[in-house]
């Protein structure tokens, strides 16, 4: 066959249709090379996008590049800290993605060349793409806290990316004496999982109440208010004596315009957290630093002055670099929060847009959703939900802005009712639905 080139073959075999119908020369591809998508990051956003592209169009070659062999979900990791769940139950591998025909490469991306459309890795590999999807999650602004960095974080964990630090923090809680103080420092907005620090305080308090009832949890918060605040505080009053002499949870906020409880420095030796207003030596110190887009987003020049990545919210294509899409926590996706479910939803919108673009079709009209469950105590869970559409964004007075974006559908969504307007049976149902959400979303992402 040495003199028999592709053009001759196509002529003889009656053209592209015959080629496509099972002659086995799949590497020839029709109408040029096979379309290639490279996904940077195998977290909730990246894994969902990879799977949904393959489900919609199996002719597209999809490669996910992820440094870790497994992914630990940040959601439900607070149940690991509270002792209600094992670390194994939040660990997921990539066999499911591979079964969808996704090429999974365990490596770290070191550069993305938007002009050459290539991704390079620490392992010295280079991958070319037609479209690249960047989903690196968050990185931490260690520089904002004196005495705290990624090395100190191994002994004074943030545990804001689940995995080894979740286990370390759990062990520290187990080793703590009764009567000890746990300090959680909560970051300024925007950050991953807005209700997360308060669910964490709740589930740690639940553990302490059972095993070390003289202990308490102190939250030093860089904000003046927080997600689901009314529901959390009512829950803390009900379960943990909040606002009483025997309070197991204390919350110290930072009123707007002040810096009262913004974490300034950490002394690792004495586990002391210092704010303008408070200096507290903790038995267990959990520092959740301020956040920014994942490192590769900065390296690839996808971020703006805010430290996050601006995108077209219909396709999640970067407004800085063409052919690169950014989804999940790293993207500017307001009014959607930086949550796992939001990343999953954005990934599906992005996947549909990428499939359309690669097939030279109009990008589809998006629909997005988010639900965040928080467990206050076993048998008592709450949620916030929203449905979003895409269209012209209105300003605060309801006047059109001329800008297109994500809009929270009016009249929909909102919070679980307070105790006075619901029953504990409904709160227990929310907990079982939270666990159902966990099972289903993890299958939707990794299965």
């Amino acid at each position: 066959m040495s003199n028999f080139n592709r053009r001759d073959f196509l002529k003889l075999s009656g053209g592209a249709a015959a080629l496509a119908s099972g002659l086995g020369f799949s590497s020839f591809a029709i109408g040029g090379a096979k379309k290639k998508v490279v996904v940077v990051g195998g977290g909730i956003g990246g894994a969902t996008a990879a799977k949904y592209i393959r489900m919609a169009d199996a002719s597209i070659e999809v490669t996910v590049i992820e440094p870790n062999a497994n992914y630990h979900t940040c959601f439900m990791s607070n149940e690991v800290l509270g002792g209600e769940r094992s670390i194994d139950s939040i660990r997921f591998g990539y066999a499911g993605l591979q079964a969808h025909g996704v090429n999974v490469v365990q490596d770290s991306v070191t550069a993305i060349d938007a002009n050459a459309r290539t991704v390079t890795t620490a392992g010295g590999k280079s991958f070319s793409y037609d479209r690249c999807i960047v989903s690196p999650g968050v990185d931490f602004r260690y520089e904002a806290i004196e005495g705290y960095d990624s090395t100190v974080a191994e002994s004074i964990p943030h545990a804001w990316k689940a995995g080894p630090q979740t286990v370390t923090l759990r062990k520290q809680l187990e080793a703590m004496k009764d009567g000890g103080t746990v300090v959680i420092t909560s970051p300024p907005n925007p950050f991953r999982c807005p209700p997360g620090p308060y669910e964490r305080a709740s589930l740690i308090a639940h553990y302490l109440k059972q095993h070390k009832p003289k202990s308490k949890v102190i939250i030093l918060d860089a904000k003046g208010s927080f997600a689901k605040q009314g529901l959390f505080i009512a829950g803390w009053e009900k379960h943990y004596g909040y606002n009483s002499d025997n309070a197991m949870i204390e919350w110290h906020g930072t009123p707007d315009g002040s810096k009262d409880n913004v974490l300034q420095s950490v002394d690792a030796k004495s586990r002391t957290a210092k704010t303008e207003f408070n200096t507290i030596s903790a038995d267990v110190l959990n520092v959740i630093p301020a956040q920014k887009a994942g490192k590769i987003a900065f390296i690839a020049g996808l971020t703006n002055d805010s430290g996050w990545c601006p995108v077209d919210l219909k396709t999640f294509e970067s407004t800085i670099h063409k052919n690169i899409h950014v989804i999940g926590d790293s993207a500017v996706q307001s009014p959607m929060p930086k949550s796992g479910y939001a990343a999953n939803s954005e990934a599906k919108v992005c996947a549909a847009a990428v499939v359309a673009l690669l097939n030279e079709m109009a990008t589809p009209q998006p629909s997005y959703v988010n639900t965040c469950y928080s467990v206050i105590a076993p048998g008592d869970a709450i949620s916030v939900a929203a449905v979003y559409d895409y269209g012209e964004v209105m300003d605060k007075e309801g006047k059109p802005t001329g800008k297109m974006g994500i809009r929270s559908v009016k009249g929909a969504g909102g919070l679980t009712p307070g105790y006075a307007d619901t029953t504990m049976d409904m709160r227990a149902r929310e907990e079982l639905y939270a666990h159902s959400w966990f099972k289903n979303i993890t299958h939707d992402v990794f299965g």
């Binding site: 949904y52 479910y341 999953n344 939803s345 599906k348 919108v349 549909a352 589809p364 009209q365 998006p366 629909s367 997005y368 959703v369 639900t371 949620s383 939900a385 929203a386 449905v387 979003y388 559409d389 269209g391 559908v409 009249g411 929909a412 969504g413 909102g414 679980t416 409904m426 149902r429 929310e430 079982l432 639905y433 666990h435 159902s436 959400w437 099972k439 289903n440 979303i441 299958h443 939707d444 299965g447």
Partner: protein, 197 residues
């Protein structure tokens, strides 16, 4: 709103229109339905333990459920808040999507002696409307066979506590079931449906 009326006309006339977007502002059926997967599983097949599978349910049942969630007629933890986010047109598109998905029946731990009793209860009191052992998705009946049991428990307790109104025929049969079937009749029924493959 001429467009809206025309769309409803098309949708009532036949399901052909469901597959293609009718106008640019309405997302496709797949786009809308993908938002459900986080809780109800990819393509509506739930991995449990409580969220129901919605793959394979009839359009009629889906639309009625969403309307009842929207109005508050059907009690809910979160579905009332979610359902209000979708227009009538969008609900119809999603209904069409899930009606064509194949239901995978849940694998659950079953009390077989209860399931046996439940089978008798089903045949006597339920089969007339929930045909084929609760597998039917022909009309406004939800699929019961292979559905997640905690969900069936929630549903039945809402009916029995009067938080949700039963259709007249169902009310009569459930009253008979409770009077003659013994205290565990409803639990037995749920075990039977949960055991169905």
């Amino acid at each position: 709103m001429i467009y809206k009326k025309r769309l409803q006309g098309i949708l009532i006339a036949g399901s052909v229109a469901i597959a293609t977007p009718v106008f640019a502002d309405t997302p496709s059926a797949a786009m809308l339905s993908n938002t459900c997967a986080g809780c109800h599983g990819t393509n509506g097949n739930s991995h449990g333990p409580a969220t129901p599978t919605i793959a394979g349910i009839s359009s009629e049942y889906f639309i009625e459920a969403m309307q009842q969630y929207k109005s508050g007629e059907r009690p809910a933890t979160i579905m009332g808040r979610i359902a209000k986010g979708y227009s009538e047109e969008e609900i119809k598109l999603m209904a069409g999507y899930f009606a064509t998905q194949k239901m995978v029946r849940a694998a659950q731990e079953i009390d077989s002696s209860m399931a046996k009793k439940g089978m008798k209860m089903h045949e006597k009191y339920c089969e007339k409307c929930h045909e084929d052992g609760g597998r039917s998705s022909e009309d406004d009946a939800g699929i019961l066979a292979g559905q997640w049991m905690p969900y069936l428990h929630y549903t039945m307790s809402d009916f029995l506590d009067g938080k949700r109104e039963m259709p007249k025929k169902m009310k009569k049969k459930v009253e008979e079931l409770q009077a003659k079937g013994g205290g565990d009749a409803v639990d037995a029924l749920i075990q039977f449906y949960g055991s169905q493959k």
